[in-house]
């Protein structure tokens, strides 16, 4: 029997669908240049994809046909040789269509193998989000802005070949840089992309992550019900009605907090979060009324406090808010908890408003997070910018 390799790409559903497919396809075709056989596929359970909901794409590669068939006999690879995370906010854990509850990004990664994250942050910062685990692994950052596009229009900012370059560096037994450059020349027919792959290969390096290192948060465990545990007629228990909101600081009771689905929390879908200036809020109700996810709690004072377990960061609240700069969407990578902003505001207004100003200011130059197609010609404007950022890094 030959050797079997598995590569896993964790990405944001729809936004990075084409990108993830291009990478796993690239791995297989490049490995083919070295006489290996392979297959690339999306995870069945993630389909149909939804915007932002984490999804996976795989490439399995083998030395010979029999080994490949052994790999193909599995529903999906249980252990992988490389995990690539295409958006750094996924490091907080992923909850896809295909399972219950949040899972760490390195769940399937073999001990000692490499986790590649596309990010503008450095490894120690990312480790604040990536959960601890019992076995050691390597963490490498492929410096670059998160590449987001959509269902029909693809933003070709070379992230695909840059990831391939990083994979060649992290796991040379799977595929070498020469084979990748051959794939780029023959299939993609873009010499500039060959240079991008080479640059990523040259600059990519990883650090050792020791057992226990990383985000100390213990993730809740979920058990799927067995059929004999289900109710008659396979009926599902509906959601109860919510009740008044108890202010954590003033202890005042009033407003409203809806009951929420405990079994699926959409928070891991979020790539940016609303930051609310309660001092300028006019209590107009529009953010609350127009939120498709019922993410706002109504406080006893009639303001609206975001529940970050359910907010998926679409940005509609920012769009409908009639007050300038009252709601600002900020890169989710800036945050490391889901605490109530209203509570912080009530505890110390001045400190909160200072924090708010600082957070928004810091987020701006770091990365103006692109979130899909806004107007025609936008991607053409963004590509040189993204390439330049990658060159700088």
């Amino acid at each position: 029997m030959g050797k079997l390799f598995a590569v896993e790409i964790i990405y944001r559903g729809v936004f990075q669908k084409t990108l993830a497919k291009n990478i796993t396809r690239g791995v297989v075709l490049a490995a083919h240049n070295q006489g290996k056989l392979g297959l690339s596929f999306g995870r069945y359970g993630d389909s149909p994809e939804r915007n932002g909901i984490p999804a996976k794409s795989f490439a399995i590669v083998a030395d010979d046909e029999q080994t490949l068939e052994e790999g193909m006999a599995q529903y999906e690879p249980k252990r992988v040789d490389v995990t690539v995370v295409l958006d750094d906010t996924l490091c907080k854990g992923v909850e896809s269509w295909a399972w219950y509850g949040l899972q760490p990004v390195h769940r399937a990664l073999k001990p000692g193998h490499t986790l590649i994250v596309v990010s503008l942050q450095d490894a120690p910062t990312l480790l604040k989000s990536i959960h601890h685990r019992e076995t050691p692994y390597k963490l490498g950052v492929l410096k670059g802005a998160t590449s987001f596009s959509g269902m029909w229009v693809y933003k070709d900012d070379h992230t695909d070949v840059r990831v391939l370059g990083a994979i060649a560096k992290a796991l040379p037994e799977l595929v070498g840089l020469t084979a990748i450059k051959q794939f780029v020349t023959e299939k993609l027919k873009n010499p500039l992309k060959g240079t991008s792959a080479q640059l990523a290969f040259d600059r990519f390096h990883s650090i050792e992550v020791k057992p226990g290192e990383g985000n100390p948060e213990e993730l809740p465990k979920f058990e799927l019900l067995k059929w004999e545990d289900m109710r008659d007629g396979v009926s599902i228990k509906g959601q109860p009605q919510g009740g008044p909101y108890k202010d954590p600081i003033t202890k005042q009771v009033g407003g409203f907090r809806p009951a929420r689905n405990e079994l699926f929390k959409k928070g891991s879908t979020r790539t940016q979060r609303p930051v609310v200036n309660f001092a300028t809020c006019t209590k107009c109700t529009l953010c609350w009324l127009n939120c498709p996810d019922a993410s706002f709690d109504v406080t006893p004072e009639g303001t609206y406090d975001t529940n970050f377990e359910s907010c998926c960061g679409c940005g509609i609240c920012e769009d409908v808010c009639p007050v300038k700069d009252c709601i600002t969407m900020v890169n989710e990578a800036q945050f490391h908890d889901n605490k109530s902003q209203w509570e912080a505001f009530k505890k110390d207004q001045d400190a909160y408003l200072k924090w708010l100003e600082k957070t928004i200011k810091e987020a701006e130059p770091e990365e103006k997070r692109s979130h899909g197609f806004r107007y025609r010609g936008q991607y053409k404007e963004q590509v040189p910018e993204a390439l330049e950022a990658a060159q700088r890094a």
Partner: protein, 341 residues
């Protein structure tokens, strides 16, 4: 005079007088596996809020079935049942009839209960059209059929439906190098179809999630008026229309402002245009160019100038040539020249 129709009273749901009077209670809450900025989920939330606790909801297959019942969990706070793709109409009628029997037999307390069946554009404008049509001819049962329209089969990754607009990019109409426009059909005018075809139906209307208060009040009116009623809602879809989810709300407004999505209601046979649509019709608001709507969406990214112009000409036709502008497409003078492909 006897009409042989056995009418039952409905709940009397008065209009919410302003956004501050909208109740806080949610009957469709957080925790659904929909896209970021999903306006179809938003209309489910508004619909449940408008209808209140004494409501039964039936849902035909589509995004709002699959994303809301995954893995033994649900965001629904009122009784909800899945029904087959084409059976929104028949399931609504069946549920209303079953409730009546249960109440007559004394199994249930005799009280008015809202019955709402929703369907997507695939389930309503394509497959379920006959069942909806049949249901709208039954004057005895109080029910509402709500069509949430994202202009494609969104759940199965965006295929053409009867309400997909002309020229759009879908999984079934990918633009090619030789042939750019792969979808040549114009969107079905579903609400007007229901109006013209079902003279005894007391309420038919169109709504948009970008006008949430109006949408909820129209739903409340449809539930209170009695008999079978029908509402068609346009829901911008960030996934299939390919746009940044932050634009969901704006695109709903743009669809109205460009004249592409007319807002109207037909109550007991009387047509009333409302909101911006009314202003367009009486000349108080100039329609925005449809280009502003098209260029914000990736699904139209392959359009060339002549395509945009043709699209605009079809919208102009709606307003300049239709016998009842924006609503009924009977016209005296037809000029239909699609661009050469």
């Amino acid at each position: 005079m006897t009409t042989f129709v056995e009418e039952k009273p409905t709940q009397e749901l008065e209009a919410f007088k302003g956004v501050k009077k909208v109740p806080h209670e949610e009957y469709y809450t957080s925790g659904h596996r929909t896209c970021q900025g999903c306006e179809s989920a938003q209309i489910m939330k508004l619909m449940a809020k408008a209808a209140g606790p004494r409501t039964i909801v039936l849902g035909a297959t589509g995004c709002m079935y699959v994303a809301n019942t995954s893995y033994y969990s649900t965001p629904w706070g009122v009784p909800w049942m899945h029904t087959q793709l084409g059976s929104a109409g028949s399931s609504a009628l069946g549920a209303a009839a079953a409730l009546r029997v249960q109440m007559r037999k004394g199994v249930m307390k005799d009280e008015p209960i809202n019955v709402i069946a929703f369907c997507g554009d695939g389930g309503g404008a394509d497959m379920g059209l006959n069942a909806i049509s049949a249901t709208l001819t039954h004057p005895d049962y109080n029910l509402l059929i709500l069509l949430y329209d994202n202009e494609s089969y969104g759940n199965t990754d965006i295929q053409i439906s009867g309400t997909s607009p002309w020229g759009v990019n879908t999984s079934f109409s990918t633009p090619g190098k030789v042939k750019r426009i792969m979808h040549h059909r114009w969107k079905k005018n579903v609400a007007a179809l229901m109006v013209a075809g079902h003279p005894t139906c007391k309420y038919v209307g169109t709504i948009s999630t970008s006008y949430p208060l109006q949408a909820m009040n129209n739903i409340r009116k449809a539930l209170s008026i009695g008999g079978p009623t029908f509402i068609h809602c346009l829901n911008p879809c960030p996934k299939g229309w390919d746009f940044d989810p932050v634009l969901s709300f704006q695109l709903g407004e743009l669809a109205v402002d460009t004249g592409l999505w007319p807002l109207y209601e037909v109550e007991n046979g009387k047509l009333k245009l409302y909101g911006k649509t009314e202003k367009i019709a009486n000349g108080k608001f100039k329609r925005l160019p449809v280009r502003e709507y098209l260029l914000k969406q990736g699904r139209f990214a392959h359009f060339e100038e002549e395509d945009i112009q043709f699209f605009q000409s079809k919208v102009d036709e709606m307003w300049e040539k239709w016998l009842i502008p924006g609503v009924i497409p009977l016209q005296k003078d037809v000029n239909d020249n699609p661009p050469a492909l």
